[in-house]
Symmetry: C2
Subunit: 153 residues, 2 copies
Amino acid sequence: MTWQGLTDRELRAWRTSFHMLELLRARIEQQLQTSSGLSNADYTVLALLSEAPGGRIRVYELGRLANWEKSRMHHQLNRMSKRGLVTRERCGSRGMYAVITTEGRATLKQAVPGHVQEVRRLFVEPLTAEQLDQLTGIAATILDTLKADRPEA
Amino acid sequence: MTWQGLTDRELRAWRTSFHMLELLRARIEQQLQTSSGLSNADYTVLALLSEAPGGRIRVYELGRLANWEKSRMHHQLNRMSKRGLVTRERCGSRGMYAVITTEGRATLKQAVPGHVQEVRRLFVEPLTAEQLDQLTGIAATILDTLKADRPEA
DNA sequence: TAGTGTCAGTTGACACATCAACTCGAAGGC
DNA sequence: GCCTTCGAGTTGATGTGTCAACTGACACTA
């Protein structure tokens, strides 16, 4: 394998970061799943809806907020509505609302403390305050690059 | 939504970092997919096999190297062997080798430059050398925490 | 030698993500 | 009025990831 174009240091930075993300994501997801039966995707949708007035958001707006493709959101809402976590409501002639149900709110409420605790334990506490700020800066920089590179993202 | 247990700064660090890594991952994957028809998973397997003597690695060892569950590796190798990128060979009575094919090598060789270029463009170049080192340290710290928390990972 | 445990590998079910193609109503121009 | 375009939403196909249950060979031992 030749790695022209990346120094060892750069390659290591990439592989370590990528691997860390994979593991961290899996671990957070696992905790959510076993403690509440929610996936990361479920949690994201419920959190966004619960913060919105009336617990309802237009589906395309929800997709924009979560940065998801519309069909991803559609499939996700399908699965969640089968489980009673959300419902859909017509909005005018062509629009749809996604609405969090009572059961959705209850499930989220039950899931939040453990989730926050896990994020704190695995992500926040191992790092110094300085590292956390550095990381925020780094993430923001790369996000800017990504959005500049393909503005619609 | 109440976020007991996380300060605004910590929450922002978490959300920004998570979002950045998700987007970056998707973008790298997209580039690989459109330029070579490979997924990140395909690429990982091909890269590992191509670096091994004889282009072959025991399946369980491959899983260990990539940090994957055995069934994930199994399904992945199934899909890849259907496409002619790898084959399997018996190893003794109970073992299996995964072996990269000529076609797998060719596909990988063709994919590497664009992939490396994309990693450089989206991940390495936006950051200063100092930031890159900081990030490597941060990722390593979190990885250590994860592995200490559940040693088999 | 039967019983037990272990480990690599396999399988099937299900959830998640992405892509392309499609519907349908609205908006704008002619 | 008619046509085109567009955007929100829907659908199906395919690939990806996880879990639990199973197989089959080996090792250990009572």
